[in-house]
Amino acid sequence: MHADSQGAWRGLSIDMCRATAAALFGDASKVKYIPLDAAKRFPALDAGEVDLLASNSTMTLSRDAGADFAAIYYYDGQGFMLPRKLGKRVVGDLNGSTICIQPGTTTEANVADFFRQNKMTYKPVLIESVDELRTAFFAGRCDVLTADLSNLYATRAAYAPNPSDYAILPRAITKEPLGLAVRHGDHQFADIVRWSVYAMIEAEEYGITSRNVDEAVKIDNPVLKRILGVTPGMGKALGVDEKWAYNIVKQVGNYGESYERNLGANTVLKIPRGLNNPWRDGGMLYAPPIR
């Protein structure tokens, strides 16, 4: 996520906030964004400073016990980037490599565990500052840079001298499901957040986009009618307006539209959808039925 040239926030996680606002108030712009750093975000949620945390936080048991994760909106994982000219295509080829790692998170323990499990060796170069680490990698001090895949794609797009010279290996060695968290016990709000994300996923599955949603309401299909509130009941059950999902798709778009706009092939990031494909296309996006 980032602020664009007009100062408006953009990003997949921002779209999740906008979708929630569209369901709740009928207006996607009714969100107040508060930037927080990694250490302060969960205390800030707990203290009521924010109501919804959309800050690329990995859902884990210990975090879910303190806050409530309403939905997972992106499947990330720790991966590896290396110069294409080295000719390595799979993670198993990395035996004996030198790896640039930022210390201070679980990243280095993950690498150590993965290499030991696979009876491979490596040499770490740990540099605290992210800028210095990046420079060292692009200068060739290490063969490989490791971080979350989304982070690697962003690094390659923004900092590589020539992005096409660098390959990001397809396999992730950890599971990093990024979730939307609400305060512990805030059940009704958690439901609204959860189904706002599901509505975006369902809309993509049924081919409803922000452009064709006005035609879609006229189609005589019981599933579409329920989702878009033509047949009432779903909004009432959730405690929001019956046109909640219509508003989400109309104002924010379906999941695929949001993905393409923020991370897809036409953006600088160019992140392949991979695990974030709909389940029919081999991904993990699977929304329970809206009925």
């Binding site: 035996n95 210390p103 280095e108 030991r116 740990l126 200068a139 001090r141």
Partner: protein
């Protein structure tokens, strides 16, 4: 009270709250009480909070498996080693850079400091530019500069610059060079080297006595070097002269075999030495300038050359002025080596940081790191104080 104050004026009776002695005691007790209370409050509060948050305390984690890799180790280490071992690796890495830094910056600093006093205009100018340049830019920036120079200026391992008939390789992964294969004879050669040092010391003592008695100088330096190198060499020959070498060769991503000096270590050492030697140079210069001009004139009158005068007359006396401030510089090198974290040299701070991150036991780890730096610094101070006492002017 039988105590009489000076001038034997009788002690004036005053109210207890105006009596300086009583007042002094009251203030002391109050201050000690406050400090004690504060310490008690901090410790008990910390223990309470740790227990409430169910954070384990104690040093048991040191026995557990560390599970992280370290890029540059002097002793055997793997992720299966314990946290204690990982921290020990860090301490050794810190000591390695500190000890080498102290030796090299003393040598370089002395040369620069003496050079600044040279009658040669160009040499003294260059030396003073050196001092001004290095001591007026923060060390961290020098470290970044040297690290960048090494990683940007040298080629990758596959295009490494090879020297000495393909036995030494320079690349941005460091300097690779061949080393002898491990052999049991090495232990005995080490022992022979220690014996050689003892022998050299005896030779030096004997030569000094002889010179004092007869006035005849003896080539102590070459004789000592001969003993220190010759003894291990004899042991090596006696052991059948094992000469199998481990040669560095390109294998997969990088060189395998031989041994390597890594760029992080080089950048840190070069940065520390160049920076600190600027301060050492000023200390040496001030020490020499503190001597009376008559000392150098007297040395010249005795027919000593400029070099001999410096080595035999001026520097030994200047040492008395030089040693105390030098101690601070040695302590600075040791502590400044913790800037290693910025360029990725795996020193003590790096090991401790990872350990804190993985175990969550910040307090214990901070105590370890403080104890480690404190004991290294106190050892340096103790040694320098002993040395200072030894060279101090002994009045007869």
């Amino acid at each position: 009270m039988a105590v009489e104050s000076l001038g034997s004026a009788p002690r004036v009776k005053v109210a207890p709250w105006n009596d300086p002695v009583i007042r002094g005691w009251v203030f002391q007790i109050v201050v000690v009480g406050l400090v004690g209370f504060l310490a008690w409050y901090l410790v008990s509060n910390t223990i309470d909070n740790l227990q409430r948050q169910k954070i384990a305390s104690g040093f048991h984690y040191l026995e557990r498996e560390a599970g992280f890799e370290i890029g540059d180790t002097m002793i055997e280490y793997s992720p299966a080693s314990t946290y204690a071992r990982a921290i020990w690796v860090g301490i050794l890495n810190t000591l390695r850079v500190a000890v080498l830094g102290i030796i090299l910056s003393t040598l370089l600093g002395t040369i620069i400091g003496v050079g600044r006093l040279s009658p040669n205009w160009l040499l003294s100018r260059i030396c003073s530019w050196y001092v001004e340049a290095f001591r007026n830019v923060p060390l961290l920036l020098w470290l970044f500069l040297f690290y960048k120079l090494i990683s940007e200026a040298f080629p990758g391992p596959r295009q490494a610059i090879s020297l000495m008939w393909n036995s030494v390789f320079l690349s941005n992964r460091g300097v690779y060079f061949p080393v002898p294969m491990a052999d049991p004879i090495h232990k005995w050669m080490g022992l022979a080297f220690l014996v050689g040092i003892a022998g050299a010391w005896l030779v030096a003592r004997w030569a000094r006595k002889r010179q004092e008695a007869t006035g005849q100088p003896f080539p102590v330096i070459s004789a000592s070097l001969g003993i220190m190198v010759g003894l291990p060499a004899l042991v090596w020959l006696a052991g059948g002269a094992p000469h199998h070498m481990s040669w560095p060769e390109l294998k997969g991503f990088n060189f395998a075999g031989g041994t390597v000096i890594q760029p992080e270590f080089t950048a840190l050492l070069v940065g520390l030495v160049l920076y600190t030697s600027a301060f050492v140079a000023e200390i040496v210069r001030s020490g020499i300038l503190a001597l009376h001009k008559g000392q150098s004139e007297a040395a010249a009158a005795l027919g000593l050359s400029r070099g001999q005068a410096m080595r035999l007359v001026l520097l030994p006396q200047a040492l008395r002025v030089i040693v105390p401030p030098m101690t601070s510089q040695y302590l600075n090198i040791t502590k400044n080596s913790s800037l290693a974290i910025a360029i990725g040299y795996p020193d003590l701070v790096a090991s401790i940081n990872v350990t804190i991150n993985q175990t969550g036991q910040a307090i214990e780890n901070i105590l370890i790191i403080m104890a480690a730096y404190l004991s290294v610094s106190l050892s340096i101070s103790a040694f320098m104080n002993w040395y200072n006492k030894r060279i101090a002017l002994t009045e007869r």
